[in-house]
């Protein structure tokens, strides 16, 4: 990773084509309690190891991806379209 990110739509692309947002967390339901919202906006697992992040292929297909990556080895395990991922989860 980092040097090259596999985009499910475009293939391997260099980091400079992407914008990184951070942890790919599920947004709470609108009426969720304040604690859930606080956790969503401010708290991070931040593990050594596998981690899911939002990456946007800004200079490519302009799709938001969920990239699962090891934060120690930088190995990318999976990379999928965020909309598709949400569809699966639903």
């Amino acid at each position: 990773m980092a040097s090259l990110v596999p985009c499910p739509h475009c293939g391997s692309r260099p980091k400079e084509e992407f914008t990184i947002k951070g942890a790919a967390l599920a947004r709470p339901a609108p009426d969720a309690d304040p604690d859930s919202w606080f956790h969503y906006v401010y708290l991070r697992e931040n593990p050594r190891g596998a981690y899911e992040e939002y990456w946007h292929h800004t200079a490519g297909c302009r799709r938001w991806l969920i990239v699962c990556r090891d934060t120690v080895t930088h190995q990318v395990n999976t990379s999928q379209d965020a909309a598709a991922a949400k569809g699966q989860a639903a």
Binding site: F38, Y42, R69
Partner: protein, 416 residues
Amino acid sequence: MRYSVFSLLWNGLRGNRDWTPAWRQPEPKPHYDVVIVGGGGHGLATAYYLAKEFGIANVAVLEKNYIGSGNVGRNTTIIRSNYLLPANNPFYELSMKLWEGLEQDFNFNAMVSQRGVLNLYHSDAQRDAFTRRGNAMRLHGVDAELLDREAVRRMVPFLDFDNARFPIKGGLLQRRGGTVRHDAVAWGYARGADSRGIDIIQGCEVTGIRRENGRVTGVETSRGFIGCGKLALAAAGNSSEVARMADLKLPLESHVLQAFVSEGLKPFIDGVVTFGAGHFYVSQSDKGGLVFGGDIDGYNSYAQRGNLATVEHVAEAGKAMIPALSRVRVLRAWGGIMDMSMDGSPIIDRTHIDNLYLNAGWCYGGFKATPASGFCFAHLLARGTPHEKAAAFRLDRFRRGHLLDEKGQGAQPNLH
């Protein structure tokens, strides 16, 4: 052994046989009043001030690797107190004042060198932001000067004034800013703490935090259980992992920031200069290497190494700022792991768990904060109340909405 020109001469004449270790290699005791996790700059400084200022010397510093193996030994050595927010500025100024007397204080030459920090601006909006920041500094009695283009040119004539995509319009100068020999800070604090009876235990990794009845009572380590009165976490770069041992989830992400050094050169640039139209800043070490860096790579990482795109980005900005850098060669790149907090400001606070104290979230401002961080953390540990200069660095500020966001970027750590 006290260091002085005489000790140097005396030992030199005696074949340098009689130098003693700068710190002991003690075996851990079963219990300490305070156990500090992390033998970096902040942990060692905390230990030093606990002993020196607060008379608490039954303290251990646990370091999983060698002392100074984290960010204190892999930063770009800059010190400054040019902060904007009223919660940050006095704290960093306290740090600056401590830097100014540090070497005599701990009898170790850390080469505190106040050759100035100059932030360039390239637009009216940046000038206005620097005016705001410079005035905040001046209101607190911190030195700040707003230079126009010609004043900058007189100071650093070899910047790109004539052919730049984003012309330099001026700069904000803090003359008291500068650099410090980073490793020496860790060593000086370690030696000072050790000489006051504090145990610095290297190669001792904390593997668990023991709690009884909701209170922390000690830590499991690679060298056995060590009990403690208070447990102080100063494990920048690994804070989330250590806190997790106490089921504490932090408002932090870990990011890699690269830094670079060029081949050694005869004096090329005097102070620190930061580019305002891209991510680049540079100074020159006393050894001659240009020490420089840019922005974080942007993704969560615990690997102390970065990627090439960032290197290129930094080089582009560097050459855009100083065209003559073109033929200077970059010798080495390395990476440090930053605790990037959710508002870009640090945390020095007790946690909701009894006896557990946290010092974290320094983003890439940790080095310059080392003395004040140690001082204020020691104050909190010794007195139980926050030091007045660090009173806003609370852990609950995110939940309460009292954010300390210098850049106004919000809850996205890689933008701070």
